[in-house]
Symmetry: C2
Subunit: 239 residues, 2 copies
DNA sequence: GGGCGATCGAACCGATCGGTTCGAATATTT
DNA sequence: AAATATTCGAACCGATCGGTTCGATCGCCC
């Protein structure tokens, strides 16, 4: 939050105070992007028309071209925003140093829930489809989205290793394995529209618990087993 | 000679002998589809133009519309063919009842190699992008491609269970887990154009071996361990 | 060798595309 | 209230789209 301080000013007090310079009103900008979202996301880049967006956003075409140089730039701005909202806060729980297994389960469930939700699936489809003609866009989406999440998982695993709970040779690979185990085919099914509906909570729970179990069986240490059984005993004593 | 006679002739011998009926020549049909492949695959459905395909196929536009009713139908025919060639023979090795671990490794490597190859990635991207506007197309692609492969993996795992080598509660889930472990993030990286090149043989080998190890550690039985150590001893005795 | 028919190729259709232009309308500042 | 500047809305641009039409052409079959 450095260069956009001025922009954020207008956002902070919520209201529009003073007339913004041409193409500088964040409210109108959001309005345009919101219209663009509705059109781009469910038609794809090519099939979406600027006239559709004009209609959907309730903003004149001329105004759109004051805020965005062309169709491609508007699309990129939209994708950038989508990426931000999709991955925001998704990895927060990895910051806490709670019980390892339950943290992994919780995180895995949030991950699977998010990635397979109808809206996010559509957004990803749009990005993937556009990656044919704009590879850098897809790459940046991945880099600033899934890749950053992956890095956080790596950091989390390293912390667990340091605590002596895990033993992993290739942490990077292990992080991918964990993520994929939590999705277990759901991503591909959703992205290809084979699944018409997002998976249920129960299904995700089942998958994630199985995946975490597999993961810990492979990488968990003696110490982890000890701690877990201790906790189990404590729990049993409680009841 | 009546029309039916001519049709029978063409059906009997695979080659072009005599003039095929309009829109019935398999050679020309392939020629059209080949042009369509080049254009559709690297531009996507919307951005591809029928004039491009005309040029690329070296076939007049009128002729194309004799063979295919419209752009969508041609696209569907292409995708159907692509699906066929991509998944053909991919799962053959699962039919043999060789050493379990090495069969899984071999299969996993072929799978990862294929799915992440530049051509297949592009094709998948095209299908995914088109799944926005033609969900049934994406669904059928998945169903007759990845899904059939998945079913074969399930069957293979069931056979191994019967042989007492594996113990699995949810075989369907296990099959997904295995597949995803073999890909371990590669699919997402490729599909989003984050990876510009397909992964190397070495990388795939590393990933698959790790994944198979994890899988067998989770689902392998005592008997599997015994058999494997026996084989190891036999190998050592040989050398 | 004559006729039948598939293909060619180019012109053509109406529609729509991304993008521009410009006067009218609107709202803010002084 | 006058001056100023953003937005509106609709017309407009050239290009291209998917799809059709039709006479010219060429090759197979009788």
């Amino acid at each position: 939050m450095t260069e956009t301080d001025k922009d954020q000013c207008d956002l902070l007090d919520g209201l529009r105070r003073g007339r913004p310079a041409a193409g500088q009103d964040p409210v109108k900008r959001s309005q345009i992007i919101e219209g663009a979202r509705r059109v781009f996301i469910d038609k794809g880049f090519e099939a979406a028309s600027m006239n559709d967006i004009t209609r959907e956003a309730g903003v004149s075409k001329g105004t759109i071209y004051v805020y965005f140089a062309n169709k491609e730039e508007l699309f990129e701005a939209l994708i950038e925003e989508e990426r931000g909202t999709i991955f925001k806060n998704m990895y927060d729980m990895l910051d806490r140093a709670d019980d390892l297994r339950e943290t992994l389960v919780k995180f895995g469930k949030v991950l699977a829930l998010k990635i397979t939700s109808a809206k996010v699936v559509q957004a990803q489809r749009t990005v993937i489809g556009a990656s044919d003609r704009m590879p850098e866009l897809g790459a940046r989406f991945y880099e600033r989205g899934p890749k950053r999440g992956h890095d956080k998982v790596v950091a989390f695993l390293n912390a667990a290793i340091e605590r002596g709970l895990l033993k992993i040779d290739d942490v990077d690979l292990a992080a991918y394995q964990f993520t994929e185990l939590c999705l277990a085919g759901l991503f591909r099914q959703c992205i290809f529209a084979y699944r018409t509906k997002a998976p249920s909570q129960d299904e995700i729970d089942h998958i994630v618990r199985s995946g975490v179990g597999m993961f810990l069986k492979a990488y968990g240490t003696e110490r982890l087993a000890t701690e877990e059984s201790t906790q189990t005993i404590a729990l049993e004593a409680k009841s």
